[in-house]
């Protein structure tokens, strides 16, 4: 695992999928493949990032993403520190920038950031001397989620090219959807979005997707179904009249799943709301559901990201 893809990854930060090239994504996924094997071994630890410091700066709660990044850093031998900042207590950007300046003074090697506002991670990255990884900013991007989804699909289907992928549910508020749309398009998949009109942002079709409002039609002959988490707090008679109605029309159950290809696979970024966006029987179908596999790939992909950004940066500095 000590070999890095060549040529060097040309990006200092990983702020989004938008702007990456197909060969860069492939190289990153190739690197992650190796880490999948390592993570399954008894000795999970490597030392490629020994002596490096990584901070996970989370302005929004997230157990799984934060833990995944923490494990990724530690398994590469880096020192990882978690910082949680209450999103409501930091509203002033000067504080956000002050935070960046303060962390900068501590000579970090990587900063992993989640923030509730789109573009906030870009703002931070402008001020940081170290690599910055976007762990989700507002409704904008969540690049490592898209990469881990891609790795999950690639391992099962061999390639992303030519697949038809349906992304279903709350597209409007979803950074996962935006990153996946970008990645799948770059890698040559066909992308559909399926949602009621209130959960679709304006002109989404111009991002290179086909739009469906009906699950039966949207899932017809697809290879992959990506369900999105529905955020309960947004459901009060505003975007949707009721959970019951939503599940009836948009929840993934056996009947709707039957419209997809017989070997279609089901994905979900988690945590899942059983009986809201997905039926338990479908979520737990070990032949079809990739949900736990996604979590496993998450650690490997994040290891690859940290490795690539930090070691490339080191080589860049040495050059």
């Amino acid at each position: 695992m000590d070999k890095l893809p060549s040529p060097l990854f040309p990006h200092r930060h990983l702020l989004g999928i938008d702007g990456l090239k197909a060969d860069e994504i492939s190289a990153l996924l190739d690197l992650a493949e190796g880490y999948v094997e390592q993570n399954r071994a008894d000795d999970k630890k490597r030392t490629v990032l020994r002596g490096r410091t990584i901070i996970n700066l989370f302005f929004e709660n997230s157990t799984r993403t934060r833990t995944s990044f923490e494990l990724a850093g530690k398994r590469l031998g880096a020192d990882v520190i978690n910082m949680s900042v209450d999103g409501t207590s930091i509203k002033k950007g000067e504080t956000l920038i002050d935070t960046a300046m303060t962390l900068n003074a501590m000579h970090l090697d990587a900063l992993v950031v989640r923030h509730h506002e789109s573009g906030a991670v870009h703002l931070l990255a402008d001020k940081m001397n170290c690599a910055v990884i976007n762990a989700g900013d507002g409704a904008h991007e969540h690049p490592t989620q898209a990469l881990l989804d891609a790795l999950t699909i690639r391992r099962r289907k061999g390639s992303l090219k030519g697949l038809t992928v349906a992304i279903c549910g709350d597209i409007l508020h979803s950074r996962v959807a935006r990153s996946n749309i970008a990645l799948l398009n770059i890698m040559g998949a066909r992308v559909r979005v399926v949602a009621p009109r209130t959960l679709l942002p304006a002109q989404i079709e111009r991002l290179g997707v086909e739009v469906f409002h009906d699950m039966a039609r949207g899932l017809a002959d697809v290879d992959i179904i990506m369900m999105l988490r529905l955020q309960m707090e947004r459901m009060n008679g505003n975007f949707l009249p009721s959970l019951r109605e939503y599940f009836h029309f948009y929840g993934l159950d056996q009947a709707k799943l039957a419209k997809a290809k017989p070997d279609a696979l089901i994905m979900h970024p988690g945590p899942i709301n059983r009986g809201v966006e997905i039926d338990s029987a479908v979520a737990d179908d070990i032949d079809r559901s990739l949900i736990l596999g996604q979590v496993e790939m998450g650690v490997a992909v994040r290891m690859a990201c940290l490795d690539l950004l930090l070691r490339t940066d080191e080589k860049r500095n040495d050059a």
Partner: protein, 430 residues
């Protein structure tokens, strides 16, 4: 006060459709003669300014300026606003009422004009708030405020949202023949939004505002203008649909006018890429088709005026994630060169551009300014129509630097500004 003879000028006055070489004589702060009879009428001791063939036009009338004094002097005070205005060739400006305290009573309106008079740089007029505290509920004392000098009524950057309050504001303002200025945005539709709804907003994951929020407010108001007959002005119009609605209303004889700001004909929504908060405006930047409609509205006269919409912000308000950042840009010193791009690109004739900056706002406000008329105040701007320069925010006379146009090459440079015949600004570039 000595007389001043401006010789060898290219005299430009949209009011009289004048664009020819000639002289202008100012005596005791007022224009005494324009054209061929100016030089012979000049007294022997007149100060002579050789304009060297450059454009001499009425000083600009900026009908939309966010004043930060009282209340936010750290951003801008009346003195820095004044210096910035005259550096931009502006000789009269109208302050919006969103100061702290709000300009909703006689004493605050009088405070602004008193401070401006004391400084004696630029003429500052004020809009009174249309509703107390800009809260959109109770009408202000429009009659008394008008007597105190208010030149119209508006809730500034907030729309008067309640239809009944708007109807009464229009009705009541008409009693005193006063103007109501509206921020055209249906606030419930715009709530939480930061940019125009569409592809760019979707890609950046920013909350969008439908452009219909502007049209809906304008169309509602036009119906109320039909009922009340009041003079109604739409501030910073930015969408093709709203411009079309105004065009239609004007054709039907409604007493309606509107302005726009340079950002809306210079930039489209793609300028927000990279989350540049200096491009965050209210209303937000629009798609290219709307930008073109703004140009067309200026060309055919549907859009009467161009205002700077000067809105100073410090770094604390702009160095934030896009949704949290304050909306607005500074504009006093960039108003003329940005407006002149319309002429240089061949999109709008020069006289029409200058009318939108001088006579049109003066007429809307019913002020006897913005023209080279004998007997009018000698408020003048001398500018080089063609001289190129680069906009440099660090050279602004105002305190704030929040402009998306920093570094932009433009053509047209203010050389000197005169208020009541007095030279209040000379450019370093002169």
């Amino acid at each position: 006060m000595p007389s001043t003879l401006f010789k060898n000028a290219r005299l430009i006055d949209p009011w009289t459709h004048l664009d020819q070489a000639g002289d202008l004589l100012a005596v005791d702060g007022t224009i005494r003669a324009v054209g061929a009879d100016a030089a012979p009428a000049a007294p022997a001791d007149a100060v002579i300014i050789d304009c060297a063939g450059q454009c001499l036009a009425p000083g600009l009338v900026d009908m939309r300026v966010h004043l930060s004094e009282p209340g936010h002097e750290h951003l801008e005070d009346i003195e820095t606003t004044s210096r910035s205005a005259v550096a931009g060739g502006i000789t009269s400006l109208v302050a919006l009422p969103g100061t702290e305290p709000v300009l909703d009573d006689v004493s605050t309106v009088e405070f602004v004009s008193r401070r401006a008079r004391k400084l004696g740089l630029v003429n500052i007029y004020a809009y009174g708030a249309a509703t107390r505290g800009l809260a959109g509920k109770e009408l202000t004392e429009m009659g008394l405020l008008a007597q105190a000098g208010a030149v119209g009524f508006t809730d500034g950057g907030r729309a008067i949202a309640d239809a009944l309050v708007m109807r009464r504001a229009l009705s009541y303002a008409r009693t005193f023949d006063q103007l109501i200025v509206q921020h055209p945005e249906e606030p419930k539709l715009a709530a939480g939004g930061a940019v125009t709804e569409g592809e760019v907003a979707t890609r950046l994951g920013l909350p969008g505002i439908t452009p219909a929020a502007e049209l809906i407010m304008v169309e509602r108001d036009l119906r109320l203008v039909e009922i009340t007959g009041a003079r109604y002005h739409v501030a910073h119009v930015s969408t093709a649909a709203a411009i079309e609605a105004i065009r239609h209303a004007k054709a039907h004889g409604l007493p309606v006018s509107c302005d726009t700001a340079p950002a809306y004909f210079m930039l489209n929504e793609t300028a927000i890429e990279e989350y540049r908060t200096f491009t965050k405006l209210s209303p937000p930047l629009r798609p290219e088709a709307d930008r073109r409609a703004v140009v067309e509205g200026l060309r055919d006269g549907t859009i009467d005026a161009i205002a700077s919409d000067h809105h100073p912000h410090d770094q604390d308000s702009k160095r934030l994630p896009f949704t949290s950042a304050a909306a607005g840009i500074v504009g006093l010193e960039t108003l003329l060169p940005l407006a002149l791009t319309l002429h240089h690109k061949g999109e709008v004739p020069l006289l029409r551009v200058l009318r939108a900056l001088t006579q049109a706002p003066a007429d809307i406000l019913r002020l006897p300014i913005g023209r080279l008329a004998v007997g009018a105040a000698a408020d003048l701007v001398l500018f080089d129509l063609d001289r190129p320069h680069r906009i440099r925010a660090d050279q602004f006379k105002c305190k704030a630097r929040n402009t998306p146009f920093d570094g932009l090459p433009v053509q047209g440079t203010v050389l000197k500004t005169f208020v009541a015949g007095r030279n209040v600004h000379s450019s370093d570039r002169a």
